[in-house]
Structure formats: C-alpha cells, structure tokens
C-alpha cells in the first residue's frame, strides 16, 4: 500500500474547519506548554475543528538561546507526542518544537499529526541570523520542502522565515500542495501612523501573493506575547486559493480563530487560473542550474 493509500481520505469531504491557535507559549516550559496544547485540542474538538494549527516553537517558546539544547525532543520517543498522536485520530494537529533529530543536531521543527501518525516533520530551512535573530547559531538547517498527502489534500509546510523566501513556496507549489501551512513566531517591527506593526503587512502581502499564484489555501499561524521585550505581532490569517483573505486574527492579542474552508475552491481556482497547469519546473530547473553553476565568488 502506498503512503497516500494508507491515509483515510474522507468521501465527499469538501468542507473543513481550520483552527489557528494564536497564543503566547511559556518560554522554556515544556510541561506548561503541553497542558496548553491539550487544552486547545480539547476546545477545538468540541468545536468540530478538523485541522488545528499552533505557531512556530509552540511547545517551547522562541527566544531560547542555550535553552534550546535542554528542551529538545525526539518525537518518536516522547510521551507527549504519543498522546497527540492518539488525539490526532480525531483531529489533525500542527505544532512546533525543538527536535533533536540525531544526537546533538537540533532543529526548529514543525510536525503534522493526523490519523494517529506523524505525517510529516518540516525542519526550518531558512534560519534568520541577522539583526535581532540568531537562529543559525542555535539550530541545524533543514534541507527540504515536502508536499505530503493528508486527509485534506496535498499539504506543504513552512516555518516563518522560510515563507519570506519565495523559492520555498515555489517548491510547495510545484510539489502540488493544495494547502500551504506557515507557522510563525514573527516579531513586530516598525511603527507608523497605522494601528499595526509595519512587518504585519509584509506577511499579509506574501499570504495574498502566494495563495493567489499557487492557487492553494494559505494558512498562517503567528504567535503573540513578549519575550525579552520582543513583541510577537499575531495577525494570523487564511487566504483562499484565489487570493482572498478569508479570516484574520487580531494583532497582539491571544486569539483562537476558527474558519471553515471549502477545499473545492482549489479546483475552482485552478479551472479559472492555469498557473499550475502551465508551470514549467523543468525550464526553471535548467535555468537555475545554469545560474548556480556560474555563481562565482
């Protein structure tokens, strides 16, 4: 049986409820964050949510520095993950954690759990390491952007800064993702006369563009709260495959955004816009090879 066949695809399943958990995790406290996750899973189940998305590093908090090594998890040997796996028979869950994939190799990872299994672990590829960020000092770099089958169609994941590199979205688009999930711990930066951080617009712009031109759902879950004075901006959102904003959480405040999406919209968008049909990854690949091979210091 292929991997795809092993996953239960709901018959005539078109509508699904997505829940975005815009929280402020406890910094460095796995136990409290486990509790927080279980609470929201319970609440989401009560509201018939099919897919529940937590933000980046939702199990640990973001500003970890040396703490990262102390609270890393191996999901296959972790009792909390076992519990979530069991719960994922009823509700699919995306969450973020520090993963010790091999001994001494720490990743900023996000897992997609469904049907009692971990369907995919995405390891952050683009680690921000400039200005206020120092992720490359802490984490090993992921190497791939997978599109993987889920009960809701083919799905791809990115973590925060991955999403600001549009090549990453392109790989999910060409890989066939119908649903793109971005988990984030994005700090707000820049003030103006508007009632929002300047950077919030950057994420929304990307969400609109990538959903529109990938003709895929774009689900972005950011966190809120403060760590060492840094303010995480919230503003989680869902865009439709035609680039329409369907739902948006508040800026700065904790929020639990639940929205029902119609997966049929992917098909509708692709009937109207032929970006996917007309894409030429082989041309892009050859052109990239030529550019990369010429790249000299």
């Amino acid at each position: 049986m292929t991997e795809l066949q092993s996953i239960k695809i709901y018959d005539n399943f078109s509508f699904m409820k997505v829940g975005l958990v815009q929280i402020s995790p406890y910094l460095g406290d796995l136990e409290k964050n486990f509790g927080l996750h279980l609470d929201f899973i319970e609440r989401a189940k009560n509201k018939n949510v099919n897919l529940l998305v937590f933000p980046e590093l939702s199990l640990t908090g973001y500003t970890l520095k040396d703490l990262a090594q102390e609270i890393a998890i191996k999901p296959e040997k972790n009792p909390f993950f076992d519990r979530i796996k069991t719960l994922s028979r009823e509700i699919s869950v995306v969450l973020g954690f520090v993963e010790e994939k091999e001994s001494g190799m720490f990743y900023n990872s996000a897992a997609f759990l469904s049907g009692g299994k971990i369907l995919n672990i995405h390891r952050k590829v683009f680690l921000p390491n400039y200005g206020m960020f120092e992720e490359a000092k802490i984490f090993a770099q992921g190497k791939n952007f997978h599109t993987f089958p889920t009960p809701f169609g083919k799905t791809g994941m990115m973590i925060c800064y991955d999403f600001l590199h549009y090549g990453a979205s392109y790989l999910l688009f060409v890989g066939g993702s119908d649903v793109i999930i971005v988990v984030s711990a994005a700090p707000g930066r820049g003030t103006s006369d508007k009632e929002a951080y300047l950077t919030s617009r950057m994420w929304e712009l990307m969400g609109e563009a990538i959903s529109r031109f990938s003709t895929a759902f774009l689900i972005y879950c950011n966190r809120v709260g403060f760590e060492d004075g840094v303010c995480f901006a919230g503003g989680s959102f869902i865009f439709s495959p035609s680039g329409q904003m369907l739902a948006k959480a508040s800026y700065l405040d904790e929020d639990f955004l639940i929205h029902e999406i119609d997966l049929e919209e992917v098909r509708m968008a692709r009937k109207k816009w032929s970006y996917k049909r007309d894409e030429k990854p082989e041309v892009i690949l050859e052109a990239l090879k030529r550019i990369v091979s010429k790249n000299e210091d």
């Binding site: 460095g28 003030t191 508007k194 004075g229 303010c231 700065l252």
Partner: protein, 270 residues
Amino acid sequence: MKINGAFVEKILIKFIQKELSRFNYKKGILGLSGGLDSSVCAVIAAKALEPKNVIAMIMPYGDSFFEDVKDARELVQLLGIHSKTIDISPMVDPYFARYPTDDRVLKGNKMARERMSILYDFSAREKALILGTSNKTELLLGYGTIHGDTACAINPLGDLFKTQIRQFAVYLGIPQRILKKKPTAGLWNGQTDEKELGLTYDEIDKILFQIVDKRKTKEEIVTLGFNKDDVEKIIKMIKNSEFKRKLPPIPKLSERTIGHDFLFPYDWDK
C-alpha cells in the same frame, strides 16, 4: 517617525502587564519628576496596573524644582495613584560637605544615584517592580546617569524617541503644563537638555532616526541635508556611551562564561 498612539499604548500596557505577572509583581514603582517622560510612564502604568498598584516616588533636592514637584503631585491626584515625596538633600548634602565640588554634573549624578537607591529600596519594601522612564534619544546619546536615572527593571519607553514621546503624550492627554515644559535632566536649576546638547530634540531625533532606524552612514545623512558637525557630534555621543547600554565585559577564562557563551533569555522560565 510617526506613531499611532492607540497601537503604542496597547503594546506598552501589554508589556508592563506581562512583565509584572512574569516576575510575580502586582505593583509598579517609578520616579516621577514632573517632566514629560516620567509623566507618560505614570499614565501608562496607571492604565496597565490600575492606579492603586502604581507608586510614584517624587524625590526633589530641597526646594529646587518646586514647580515640577507641584506638577508631579497634580498628576498623581489626576491619576489616583499612590505617591511618596522624599527630599534627597539630607542624604546628598553631608556627602558633598565632606567631599566638596563645584562640578554640577558630579552633583547631578550623585543626586540621580541617590534617587535610584531610594527607588530600589522602596521597590523591595513595597514589592513593586521599577519602571524605567528613559527614552530612546537619551539612551542613545548616553544622556543619563549610569546606575542612576537609567537603572530600572523594565523600560517601557526605551524604543520611543523624545519627539515620539511628545506625540504619544498628546494622544494620552497629558496636562498642557507638562507637555509644554522645556525638557530637563534636572541636574541643576535652569538646565535644559536642548541648551546643554546644543541641538533641539527635533533635530537630534531626525538624525538619530537616520543613523539607527534607517542604518544610514554619516555621508548619506549629510547628503540628505543635515549639518555635518551635528551628525558627527551625535555619532560621537552614541559611540562614547555604548558602555552605558551594556553589562560590563568579563575576561574569558573558563569553557563557558557569563555573557559570552552562557546565554539564556531574560525571561528564562518566567
């Protein structure tokens, strides 16, 4: 450099609330001079913590700055917060009687540190977290006394330039008398910041904004039409005061050293 008052207010309130709850404090304490920055901080603290949980320490030197003390007391009444007035001259005068000086900056620094000492003492007595009142402009210029007025547990106003504090104060409805006051560090009577710095805060902040927020070089800023001497003066002040914005360096000996490679978040386990 425009700010949205409501947005800034929301962030600062949430920040103060979060930090206090993190460290298990209900009350906040601050030094209230009657000037703009500490008044803005008092207003925000009253909104974040409820007036009954805010303590304003008014710490004049004798009868100097009488008007400021009056303004501070009026604001305390207006906000309904707690306050305590302590004259620092009985603590400061004996020291200078023994070690006299005519240097006004030395005297002013000593007074700033006396206020800090009282603030930390009352922070412990009242179990109240110290809210700083230093703005981005003075932090960047080093226009404050190290271990004096810059000492605090959290600093809500530290990412707002002086001119942005003014914009914010208008939004908050700070009394006109405080709003129109000439900014002073209060080191001696008749001192104003702008006279001492030789530039207005409008001029200083525009240049700081280009240097810091826009990451422009000296040459690029001069091309924008700013005076070269002013830009150089400000860059020099930033460089000369970096020590005030950092913890003192430790010479590395061991395999893991505080500040070098023993690195944990401030909010560790909070």
